[in-house]
């Protein structure tokens, strides 16, 4: 920690590098293998290079309904994202004041995190069956996903509001702002980066969710269910092409979040605002 870097540093740095390799290595392998030639198999060596398997992926009859499930997962992800941001932000505001039942709702959120996903899936599936309703990706699966994203959103909002300087709000109120104006023009702009973060959580958790979709998505599969189905009956590199495309979408969303994050920050610096310092 002081002065020159000793052997401990290099040992730990090596360990860290191996860990990163461990995290990314397999994904990179399938990225490479998804460009396998038309005659290629599931493992190395590469048998030529082509985009054959990507084309294959979008031909409907070959591998189930990839395009449809991708579309459903996207719509669901965006819907879950919007509700997660709005509901966690609003709940975060509420939790700043004491109210009856606050502890209970907090424990519900914790319970929602620790109850295994498959139990929630099973419970919602059973509930719909008992009530005689049809489970569908836009109703039961939507609710199931929210039970996973909202606790994360709420915990992030707790962390954010703990560090939020309430004097900004007081100043706004002293200047005659209504409570809605305070939220709209003071609180939301200051917290924007965190809200983007909550949105990122909401979208990607929903987009990748498997267990909670299992008994809740009804007739039409979401993407992870489709992929899972494919793993059991597809034995060509089209599986890897699918992996590359899905991972690509995830990376795009992460990049988008990071870009808007930096953009908000830059804009603040340019405008000489001190708003960011509170968040």
């Amino acid at each position: 920690m002081n002065g020159r870097r000793g052997p401990a540093y290099w040992l730990l740095a090596g360990f860290f590098a191996l860990f990163v390799l461990f995290l990314y290595g397999p994904t990179l392998t399938i990225l490479v293998l998804s460009f396998q030639g038309p005659q290629g198999g599931l493992t190395f060596p590469m048998n030529g290079v082509s985009v054959h398997w990507f084309k294959n992926l979008f031909e409907k009859q070959m591998v189930g309904d990839f395009a449809g499930s991708l579309q459903r997962s996207m719509i669901l992800g965006v819907a879950v994202m919007l509700v997660t941001v709005a509901a966690s932000f609003s709940a975060g505001l509420a939790f700043r004041s004491r109210f009856k039942g606050a502890a209970f709702i907090f424990y519900l959120a914790v319970a929602s995190l620790i109850v295994p996903s498959i139990l929630i899936s099973l419970g919602i599936g059973l509930l719909f069956r008992v009530l005689g309703w049809d489970a569908a990706w836009f109703s039961s699966a939507f609710g199931a996903h929210l039970t996973w994203t909202l606790p994360f959103g709420l915990l992030i909002m707790f962390a954010v509001f703990n560090r939020f300087d309430r004097r900004y709000e007081e100043a706004a109120r002293d200047l005659g702002a209504t409570s809605w104006q305070t939220i709209r023009f003071i609180v939301i702009p200051i917290l924007l980066p965190s809200l983007i973060g909550v949105g990122l959580f909401g979208f990607t958790l929903s987009y990748d969710e498997f267990a909670r979709s299992l008994y809740t998505s009804g007739t039409f599969n979401t993407l992870p269910l489709e992929i899972y189905g494919m793993t059991t009956n597809v034995t060509t590199p089209v599986l890897y092409a699918l992996g590359t495309v899905t991972t690509g979408v995830s990376f795009l969303v992460i990049a988008l979040a990071l870009v808007s994050f930096t953009w908000v920050r830059r804009r603040r610096q340019r405008h000489g605002s001190d708003a960011g310092k509170a968040a």
């Binding site: 190395f44 109210f99 039942g101 059973l126 008994y215």
Partner: protein, 284 residues
């Protein structure tokens, strides 16, 4: 003013509360109710029977499966704890620039945002009979025949758990470490503590909350898992959730529900024990 505020507060928290009520409390209540129901091959029949629990708890398969699941949880917990702690320790105390700290932390977290199923699949070209691992070992002359236990085995299951979930250890432990006042470490050094002593007597105790939160995540995820076990064990291992799913596919909903209740109790007891070590709300 006061009363209006109270109403506003309830209004603000209501969407969140409503979701938890409708999609967490009611479904879990449904599971509990259905676990006492009767069933035949075509339908479930409202009743109050203990038979589902009797059949479940008297079957040796149940105990074996629970044993297997607990074993997976403990092994995964131990490995992710060691890796997670080491990685966080490096990030928190050895990376000196805040920018690099952030960048490396992001590097660790990004895979979390990608699909778990895909990340499982990506082990196939690595671990398979003709996969990279076997090829490399053969070329190095370390083995003659491909190792069979790499893919579709308990080894593969644990490896995948570690791959997918170590992040859940890294984030809370890193968070705890970043809150440690650096002057405490200096004080320890001034008082003559060696590096190891500082680690064991200062850093580890202060990281306990992070370790507890990470452990809760890992244990609950692994206990409820079925995808990894099914995909990576090649059907050779079982898990409690897989057992439940089998009952579901045979339309034995009450049997699955009884199993779900038992699993839920096990998870809640485990978490309650770990929660004694930490106040989560203080950690945010």
């Amino acid at each position: 003013m006061k009363r209006a505020n109270a109403w506003a507060t309830y209004l603000q928290v209501s969407p969140l509360a409503l979701v938890f009520l409708l999609f967490l409390v009611v479904p879990i209540a449904t599971i509990i109710v259905v676990s006492f129901f009767d069933y035949n091959t075509t339908q479930i029949i409202p009743a109050f029977l203990l038979q589902n629990y009797e059949e479940l708890l008297l079957s040796p398969v149940t105990w074996r499966t629970y044993g297997q699941t607990i074993q997976f949880s403990v092994v995964t917990w131990a490995i992710t704890l060691v890796i997670g702690f080491t990685v966080s320790y490096f990030l928190a105390f050895h990376v000196r620039s805040a920018t690099w700290q952030m960048v490396l932390f992001l590097v660790c977290t990004i895979p979390f945002w990608t699909s778990n199923v895909i990340r499982m699949i990506s082990w196939i070209p690595f671990l398979g009979r003709n996969g990279l691992a076997n090829m490399t070992l053969i070329q190095l002359g370390l083995i003659k025949e491909p190792l069979e236990f790499l893919l579709f085995s308990n080894f593969a299951v644990v490896l995948t758990y570690v791959h997918l979930y170590t992040l859940f250890m890294v984030v809370p432990i890193f968070n705890s470490m970043m809150r440690i006042d650096r002057s405490l470490l200096e004080a320890a050094r001034d008082a003559g503590a060696s590096g190891w002593q500082t680690l064991w007597t200062v850093i580890v105790p202060l990281c306990k909350p992070g370790i507890a939160i990470g452990s809760i995540f890992i244990v609950t995820i692994v206990m409820g898992d079925f995808v990894t076990v099914r995909m990576m064990s090649g059907g050779q291992s079982a898990s409690v959730s897989l057992m439940m799913m089998n009952a579901m596919s045979l339309l034995q909903y009450p049997a699955a529900a009884a199993n779900a209740v038992v699993l839920l109790l096990l998870v809640l007891f485990t978490v309650a024990a770990m929660m004694r070590l930490v106040d989560i709300r203080k950690e945010l």
